[in-house]
Each structure stands twice: as structure tokens, then as C-alpha cells.
Symmetry: C2
Subunit: 660 residues, 2 copies
């Protein structure tokens, strides 16, 4: 259009860039590096695999700059020959709230189905498909597991990190030693000795996160054991473009044949236009007895025994075994070339402690990811659980550093909020180990011999545990951040139903995404898009059907919630408001003014797209209040007339600005 | 997991990067720059606004490298103070097929509803809402219009361009003159004189695309007029954070009050967390008579008259008029600050020719976007129609350059395919101009005086033309690329229904997205994701319900289509196959082998998610064949037993490799 007069403000120029996440406010005094005293940080992250990258990315987005935060990695560049490939639906939900899910959504392989193949009733057919089940069983925003090269996941996170951090990852940097030295400097008690390109230096930090993998130097230096067992089955894993007439090559398959077991994982399309396939193949040999617990975090295999057996593993052997097990179908790498192959032994081990405290009881060193739990890869858990460790820890650490965490009332509990990392994630790690042991055992050599029952059990185990493995049904135990109904016992029917996998509200589980119609503009939105990973708490009010009555309980609750939210540092507590089907249409004037003031763009009709009240198990006649934690988990549920319950919950987590 | 043996191929290293679009094959001899002869290109694009960037991006993705393609722009950087802000649903569909829609999906404002406000029946209320209608009426993958800063759209395209082109846009480069000089070099007859940072040089190119805006130098040098009229109403436009009690500030609104007319366009959220609002305000004054056609592409306003009136326009005047027209509500910029403001005059003009040919009839110079059509901004069309010009032209130009276009049989028609750019896009430009004239007139000063009828008419005009303005109902006229039913008259019921906005198949309209279940893996997919903008033709076969019979017409058709597709250069013609609800489940073995060979990952059940057959108007008992052009438009529809019709269509477009 031909414009003849034009005036522009300077802030407009920046609008061409993608949005940045708003940093969290800081009540604590600003951090000032003092080079004269020595190199010091607020947080050092060791390791830039999925766990370390997620940790660094979140802390950067929450507001830690390069002066406060250092992330180091021993490798010279991002991972090239990565092993993990599965991105679970809950991980995708989290990536989505970070705005970094698109490349995975568009370019990963989406596994929607899991097929089970077993010895055929007609022996001439050898094997037959006995079931096809959905890959993702709980209600979820993404109904599939994505598979894509681990290096790509890391590159996606690093690219986003570089929007917030000029330095990014300090590479070629090997951590040599980590120790606590409170006498030297009790504010920066963690001493880290590291070598960058061979040049050694010692730095200090307030906190350190060891995300440095199964052979974690941090874990070793802190003297934490890795407890568990190694079942000692040897498996081969191959990525290749498959040439096959097997009909389910594009589905995830568990195949048990008289000749052995294979798992097929379809993978992403590559630049040739072809599709990768991953095979897990059990290497045939006598089943060795399970090794005992190996203390000290070694690999859990007796060196002599293992070395001899390892030397037997060849690509040809793996491919031969796969070809045998998939008979009568054929299966070989196209043009004889494989993309990557490896061999491994199943072992499940977990550290009993994820946190190391100083002498005053303050949490100083954390371990995350493979550094605190290792297990087999076949359930596609490793990368996911590791990143979710970071997702659980990062906001707590940030609240602690920024002075946003509520000051404990007893002087001997300085880091209550931080301790919930151990409470919540150690339980998950233990569940992971237990599931993996069960799933792997079923899938291993015993399988072919006991048949029938075991075959069904594998499928049942998959289905039963899918809430956990998809990440969408994970439930944290009761703790200061997860307050259940024990003191709310007089309102037994506040939440109707117990099918939490379908979305029924439950403290300790993530809030299910629902689609809602926004009042202000008719925008059909996903509620998860109002839960971006910006470190904020959200009070959600599902009002009752009396919203249009001026003196209704809903109106009173909304006003009380607004007063409550104002007691916390600005922007830290947001409001989301839903209404059920009402008896008439209405305008802003018909509802309490605080709705438009506090939640104009987060006020929804919860009845016309998804039926949010039914999905969440909420009676529209009663409504409900809940708090969603910064990581998307429900923290507490209360009746509309019990704002005090929300008040107590939030004040136990977040420092008020008024001090009350 | 602890791996002890690991081997990786080198190609794996590249897998961490986002995918690249596969270039089109080239039958023409490779282009070799010969610096001794002079600087020469295959295509020069002038202008890096939305039209020029889309042109350059597509040509780069189709395979033109920096040696072949040069894009220049006079400005020193991407647009800062851009004017356009609307991204229509069809444009979003195209962005999605390019993999660049995400940032818009996530961060633009989504306009889902259009509210009409008119003088109230109760005069005390002054104005009242008379209707709320959906912003997007036709069936579409995206049910909203997105609004976001034009500079950001350009930055998104430029970022993607830089993945394919090292040079990107050559900026600070002003084109001084363009002329045809066949005598000097008839293969590179377009002479371009340009100045980069003031240094002048002359280069040659086979083709030139003038995407250099309303004041196009290319258009002027080629002597093309811009015909039409300027209605001469003056409008002010303001972007600001609004402080208002107007209830529909987050909806698109057309407000007519006794005090004047405003249009409200909600805009994206900015870094403060606040939301922008755009206002179009009619500047009050006597309505001046429409100017006559102004030849030569001037601004269409008599300089003396206009200059005097322009000087009256101030921000304060615009805001005062907006505040008056929205009474009894209040409306002002928050903190008194506006983001951007401008004034413009409505004018609709179009060039009669979009192509300039050389003496042999070969199309050499093209104009696109504002260079060939200008109009008012209020319908949110400009940026969209401009980019769709490029989307229409780019693949045709690439087919021509790469020798993929079918050689014409008559020697006097060397550039049949290229000429369809004029045929198709000039008609769209004319429709745009006609619509804009009607819509703008209705919305302008006449409105408030005639009331009633006109108010309804504006809403009707919006609804009636939404197919066009959304881009989703655009229909190209019959031409070599759009073959309708005239010679197919014996199959009158091949396509049932005529409600093309709902998705009924129609040559000349874009194929509607549907969701389908993929046979190979149970992936629930959008068919548009199988129509990426890679320049390929697609033969879609909606088989009939007899697919499982070995000698069925469906089976014969699939085999014939496979033979046909093989006659064209490798990868240029892809197959997509759907089946209707069948009477039993089936395996790959039950259907023709060519389905798995040619379309393993593009073979769908068209009945279980969306009912594709009903949506497309296809009888499952009969099925249908169709060709989807590289730009997503349906080219031809044929009965399953008439593969010849598809054969003729494709051979009129694409050069066969066997020559038959």
C-alpha cells in the first residue's frame, strides 16, 4: 500500500526476532563475578548430553547469564554417534512448552503402534502378528513416540541455548575433580578442577550439576555408589536402511521366534529419502547368571568374563541372528551398509543419593541423568528420564538462587525445595530400573522357552507401564510440592474419578492438555500453551456454574485468588480461569472485574471444545481450584471456598514480597 | 547405556542438522558462470520483500545455487517498519509445506473471529455488536488468520534461505535499469544495471523477476502501466498497546459509528507480555471524487491536492477520531506511546501484463507482488497475494530452466508453461482489486450515512469473499495446467457435489488437507505433509472398494500409473494412494506389489480419520485419479479407467525421459 506518512518506535525493530522467554525476577542480591578472588559461578553444569543441555537451557531461559552459569563438556562437539533415539510424548509436551518441538514433530519418525509377533500356531508360518496396540495409551497431547538421532535432539537444545547464552557449552573441557570446601569460601563451597584443551584451572561455584553420564566423574568424586545389578545378556543394536519383506518394518515390533528375539524401532527419514530402522538383537549364547551388585559404579560386569564374550560380537553375527529370527521373512541392510552398530549388556543401576549437601545441610551438588541411573535402551527411556530430571531440578535451583523459594521457618531446613528433587526423581529412577528389569527379562532369552504366558505378559507389561514409559502418567510422591487430599477429607467428591491416565486431576501428575475456547477472541487454544516453561506457578480456577451471579462463590474465590497472587513477586504466579457451560451468554461486565484485569487472555469456556470439567473430573456445580507447578505438575487441589489451602501451598514454596 | 562396541558411518554425522529439501533434477546442461564474458545468472530477483524472498527461497530450495541465482534489494537490512501484518490460512498452509510455519503458529496473533459493530438500536448505547462470524469460512488446515510483523515474516524466510544460499540477499543494491538485449547475448538477454553501495555494474541474466514493490523500477523500465483508480479516501493506521474498555479489542472488528469507521486488528504479543492492536481509522474530511486512471504507475493522486491534505494528518488526529468512533467506550495508547503509525490512501491498480517476452516469444521478465498490483491493506491481502504470486511462478520457472518443462510441439510456443503465470495470477490480481474496491468502498465514508443495508452488505461481502481472501478458495481459470471436465463429459458423476469451499475436488483449486491413517505404521497424518513444496507433481489415486480383487480396475490403474510415472525424470512424479473402507483387513500381499514399491509411505486408509472420499466428493465404488501440481492445486481429475487423461496432462507439462 502506498503510505505517505510513517513513524516508527525503535522497539519495533526487535520484533523481527523470535520471542525470548521472560526471565524470573530475582529477590536475592545480584551476582557479581570478582575475578580478583577467582573464577566463580552460581551454577556449573558438567556434561552437555540431553540432561546437561536441558539443565543449561532452562537455567539460561529462567535468567542465569554467562557470568552465573557455566556448562562444560569433555567432547569437542555435539554428539555424532549417539545411541538414544526415542522421544516420549511427555518429553514432546515439555519441548512444546519450550517452543522447540517443531523439528521433532515434523522430521522425526512418529511411532503410533506397537506390534507383537510370536511363534505361529501354524508352524509353517514360523511367526505371526498376535497384536497391534497403540504406542501411547494415556491421554496425551502427542499420541506417538518420536524417534530421531540423539545428536539432533542435542543440536536443537544447543541452538536454542545459544539464543540466551553467548558462550553456550564450553567444550573440550574435562572435569578432573569436584570437592566441597566450605572453609575456603562458604558461599561458593564447590571446588571444581577442570582442564580445557589440557590447561588446568580450579574454579568455585555455589552449586554444581553432574550430568556427565554413566561414568560420571562428579558421582565418583562425591563418593556416590551406583547400586543394582547387571543381568549380563548381550544385545546388538544396528541402525540401517532395511531391505525386507517383513510387513511391519515401519511399526515398533517385539518379535519372538524360535530362533531368538528382535525389537524393531522405525526411525526417521534420511536425506536419501529412505527410512532408517533400528534393530535390537539378542546375541545368542548361554544365559549367564546375573552378576551381583557391583559397588562403586563400575560397569557391573566381571572384566575377564565380559572381555572374552565381547570379542565374539560382530556386525555379521548380529545381522545373521536378526535374519534368522525374522524367518520366514528376509531382512538385510540395503546395499550391505549399516549406519551405526553397537553391542551392550543390560544393566540396571541407580544411585541412592542424587544430592550432596554441605555441612549446614544446604544442597550443593546434584547428579542427573545417566549419572544417577543406567538401564537398557529398549524401552526408549534414557534420554527422556534424563531430561525430565533436569526439568524437575532446574526451576527449583533457580528459585533457590534467585531468592524466590520460601524461607523455611525452621533454621535447620535451608533447602527444603531443593530436596524435593531427590524425593521426586529418585522414586522415578527406581521405577524406571524396576520396569526395565522386568521388561528386559521378559524380552530376553527366557522368552523363547516359556512362550505363551510370557508373550502375553510382555504385551501386558508394556500396556500397564505405558503411563510411566510415555512419561504422561508419571506420579510424584507426596511432599511439600505435592499435597494430596489427606487434610481435605471433608470434600471427598471434589475430584470425581480415579482414572488419572485419562486426565482426572491428581496432585503429583502433570496437567493434561485440553483444548479450550478463549473468551476474549474466540481463539481455540491448547491449555498447555498457557503453561510455557518460564518457571511460573499457575493458579487455575475452574469456576462453578454460578459465575454470573455477582455474589457467587466463584466471584468471591476469583477476588481472593487475585489478592493472594499479588502477595508474590510480580509475574511469578499467573492465573488461568475456566468456566463451565453457563445458562446465558455474557460480557466482561457480567463477571468480576479481576478476571479481565488478571487473566484477560487466559479466560476460557471449558465446555465447547474439549469438555474440560469432565476430563479433569470436576463437577461444574462445584468447580475447583488448583495450582500447577512450573514443571506442569498439579501441586494441590482445593475447593473454591478453600483459597486458604492454595495460600498455604504457595507460601510454602514461594517467598512473598510483603513478608506475610 | 554402557556400550562396549560401537561403529558409525560418516554420513551419520550430518544427521544432527535439519533436513534439506531435495533439489529438482536437471535435464538442461549445467549452468557455468563464465567470468571472462561477464557476470551472468540464470535468474535475478529484484526486491527482497515478501514476494522476492519467497521467489528466492523457492528457487534455492528447488536447486538453483548462488552461481545461478542472484537476489538484490535496495535496503540495507530486513524490514523494520513494515506495514503488512496478515498471514492468511492458505499462506500458512504453504509455509507449513516449507517447514517454516511454526514461529507464526506459535507466536503470531491468531484471529479466529470477526465482529461487526454498528449504530445501536438504542441510541444511548451509541454502538452495538451486530454479529460475530468466523474469520476463516472455507475448510482449511488453519482456521485463523495470523497477524504478525511483516519484518518477522521476511526474517523467517531469509533465515531459511540462508540454509540454501551462502550469499542470501545482496543488499544495498539498487537496480538502475533493466532492458532486453538479444543481440548482445540471446541466451542471457536481460541486461541489468545496478549499484551496490554506489558502485555501478551491468550484469546479464536469462530471466529476471521484478518483486520491487509498488514503485517498481523493473515495471517502469519494461514500460508496463499500472491501471486502475485511486478512491482517495485517507486512512490512518496505528499499531499500539491499547488501553480500553471496548470488549472486543482482541477480535477483528469493523466498527461503524455515527462518528466514523474503524477497523480493529488484534496483533501479536510483544516482549513486555502486552498485546499489540492495529487500528485503521478513516480520517474525517469531505469525500473527494475518485481520481481517474493514472497511467505510468504513479501513486494515483494529484500531487497538489494530495500534498495539502496529507499535511493535515497527525497521530493526534487519528487517535482522536478513533476515540470518537468507539464511543461510549474509551480507547487510547497505553502510556501514550504508539509503536508505529502511518497514513495512506486507498488505491486499486493492476498491471495488464505480468510477463515481458523477448522477440522470439520467450518469457524473460516477470513482475510479482506489489509491482503488479496495489490495493488497500484492510483485507490483509497484500503480503499473501504477493507471496502466492511467487509460489505460482517459481516452480514453473524452475521447470523451464532445468529442462523439465515439456517441449512444446509447435515452434512458436516456447514458453507455454511460463505463460500460465500470467493466465493464473493476473486473474487473481483482478479479483483482488475488484474485491478491495468493493470492500473499501463499503467500509469508507459512505457507510455511516446509508446505514442498515450497507452494514449487512459489508458482512455479506466478507463472508462471500472469504474463500478468496483466505486464499483457500482461490480458483485458477482453465489453462494447460487446469483441465476441467469438458472432455470428460461422459462421466458426469465422477465428482459429487459443487461445494468446493468444503473440499470437493476441483481442478484449479488447492487440494484440501485431510487426516489419514497410514497403512505402513498407523501414523495419523495430514495429507498436506505428503505435498511438501519440493516442486514435485503428485498423482493421487483414490482407489475404489475393489482394491483387494486381484484383477480389479483399481489394481490395473495402479499398475498403469506406475508405468506412467516411470516415464518422467526420476523423483519428479510421486504417487499418493488412498483406499476407502474395505470389506476386510489386509496385508501388503493382498494388494498390487507396486503400491508398496512406489508408495509404501504414502498409502492410506481414507475412511477412519477424516472421511476423505466424502470430503473430496468421490464415490468409493468408483474411486478417482487426480494430479496435484507442485503448488498444491488440482490439475486434472480422471476416472480410474482413464489413465490416458492423466498421461496427456502430465506429458503436456513435464518432459519425459524416454521422449515418448
Amino acid at each position: 500500500m502506498p503510505v505517505f506518512t510513517e513513524h516508527s518506535s525503535s522497539s519495533r525493530d526487535l520484533r523481527v526476532l523470535p520471542s525470548f522467554a521472560p526471565p524470573l525476577p530475582r529477590l536475592a542480591p545480584p551476582f557479581k563475578p570478582e575475578p580478583k578472588i577467582g573464577e566463580r559461578y552460581e551454577v556449573v553444569v558438567v556434561g552437555a548430553g540431553p540432561a546437561g543441555l536441558m539443565q543449561s537451557l532452562l537455567l539460561s531461559r529462567y535468567g542465569l547469564n554467562d557470568a552465573s552459569l557455566l556448562c562444560v563438556d569433555a567432547k569437542p562437539s555435539t554428539l555424532k554417534s549417539g545411541q538414544a533415539d526415542g522421544v516420549q510424548p511427555r518429553t514432546l509436551e515439555v519441548f512444546k512448552t519450550l517452543g522447540i518441538s517443531t523439528e521433532i514433530e515434523n522430521e522425526a519418525c512418529q511411532m503410533w503402534q506397537f506390534a507383537f509377533w510370536n511363534p505361529a500356531t501354524d508352524p509353517k508360518k514360523v511367526i505371526e502378528r498376535t497384536a497391534v496396540v497403540p504406542e501411547v495409551i494415556p491421554a496425551a497431547r502427542f499420541k506417538y513416540e518420536a524417534t530421531i538421532h540423539q545428536g539432533r535432539i542435542e543440536r536443537i537444545m544447543e541452538t536454542d541455548l545459544l539464543r540466551y547464552s553467548e558462550r553456550g557449552i564450553l567444550r573440550n573441557t574435562r572435569v578432573l575433580d569436584v570437592s566441597l570446601d566450605e572453609e575456603g569460601d562458604d558461599e561458593f563451597p564447590v571446588l571444581v578442577s577442570m582442564a580445557t584443551d589440557g590447561i588446568v584451572k580450579v574454579i568455585r561455584t555455589k552449586h554444581l550439576v553432574g550430568a556427565d553420564g554413566a561414568h560420571s566423574v562428579v558421582r565418583r568424586c562425591m563418593g556416590l555408589p551406583l547400586e543394582g545389578e547387571s543381568l549380563d545378556h548381550i544385545w546388538g543394536v544396528v541402525d540401517m536402511v532395511a531391505e525386507t519383506d517383513f510387513p511391519d518394518i515401519r511399526r515398533r515390533c517385539a518379535i519372538h521366534s524360535p530362533a531368538g528375539s528382535i525389537m524393531i524401532i522405525p526411525r526417521e527419514r534420511i536425506s536419501t529419502g529412505e527410512y532408517l530402522t533400528r534393530l535390537y538383537v539378542q546375541v545368542p549364547e548361554d544365559v549367564a547368571p546375573a552378576c551381583d551388585l557391583v559397588p562403586g559404579g563400575g560397569e557391573g560386569v566381571r572384566p575377564d568374563d565380559a572381555r572374552q564374550r565381547r570379542s565374539k560380537i560382530t556386525l555379521e553375527g548380529i545381522l545373521k541372528q536378526a535374519a534368522d529370527a525374522i524367518q520366514p521373512y528376509s531382512l538385510r541392510p540395503k546395499d550391505g551398509a549399516v549406519d551405526w552398530w553397537a553391542a551392550y549388556q543390560i544393566g540396571q543401576r541407580v544411585s541412592p543419593e542424587f544430592i550432596v549437601k554441605d555441612s549446614k545441610g544446604a544442597a550443593r551438588v546434584f547428579i542427573t541423568g545417566d549419572a544417577c541411573h543406567t538401564h537398557s535402551p529398549k524401552a526408549g527411556q534414557g534420554m527422556n528420564v534424563s531430561m525430565m530430571d533436569s526439568y524437575n531440578l532446574a526451576w527449583k535451583l533457580m528459585y533457590h538462587i534467585n531468592g524466590l523459594a520460601a524461607q523455611p521457618t525452621c533454621s535447620n531446613k535451608p533447602t527444603l525445595l531443593l530436596e524435593t528433587y531427590q524425593t521426586e526423581r529418585h522414586q522415578i529412577a527406581q521405577q524406571l530400573i524396576d520396569f526395565d528389569r522386568k521388561f528386559s527379562t521378559m524380552f530376553s532369552g527366557e522368552m523363547a522357552t516359556t512362550e505363551g504366558l510370557m508373550q502375553e505378559e510382555l504385551q501386558q507389561a508394556f500396556e500397564l507401564n505405558n503411563g510411566f514409559t510415555s512419561g504422561c502418567g508419571v506420579e510424584y510422591p507426596e511432599n511439600m510440592l505435592v499435597v494430596r487430599d489427606e487434610d481435605n477429607i471433608n470434600s471427598p467428591s471434589l475430584i470425581q474419578g480415579t482414572d488419572y491416565l485419562s486426565g482426572i486431576l491428581r496432585p503429583g501428575r502433570r496437567l493434561l492438555n485440553v483444548r479450550l475456547l478463549r473468551h476474549a477472541d474466540g481463539w481455540q487454544r491448547d491449555i498447555h500453551d498457557d503453561l510455557p516453561s518460564t518457571g511460573r506457578f499457575r493458579i487455575m480456577c475452574l469456576t462453578s456454574a454460578d459465575l454470573l451471579d455477582q455474589n457467587s462463590i466463584s466471584a468471591q474465590t476469583l477476588e481472593a485468588v487475585t489478592l493472594l497472587a499479588a502477595q508474590f513477586p510480580k509475574s511469578v504466579v499467573e492465573q488461568i480461569i475456566l468456566h463451565p457451560k453457563l445458562h446465558r451468554s455474557f460480557e466482561w461486565d457480567d463477571i468480576p472485574a479481576c478476571v479481565k484485569q488478571e487473566a484477560e487472555m487466559r479466560f476460557y469456556d471449558g465446555s465447547v471444545l474439549d469438555d474440560a470439567y469432565t476430563i479433569y473430573g470436576v463437577d461444574p456445580a462445584r468447580g475447583v481450584l488448583l495450582v500447577v507447578r512450573p514443571d506442569g505438575y498439579v501441586g494441590v487441589v482445593a475447593s473454591l471456598d478453600d483459597v486458604q489451602r492454595v495460600d498455604r501451598y504457595l507460601k510454602s514454596c514461594i517467598q512473598t514480597v510483603s513478608g506475610n
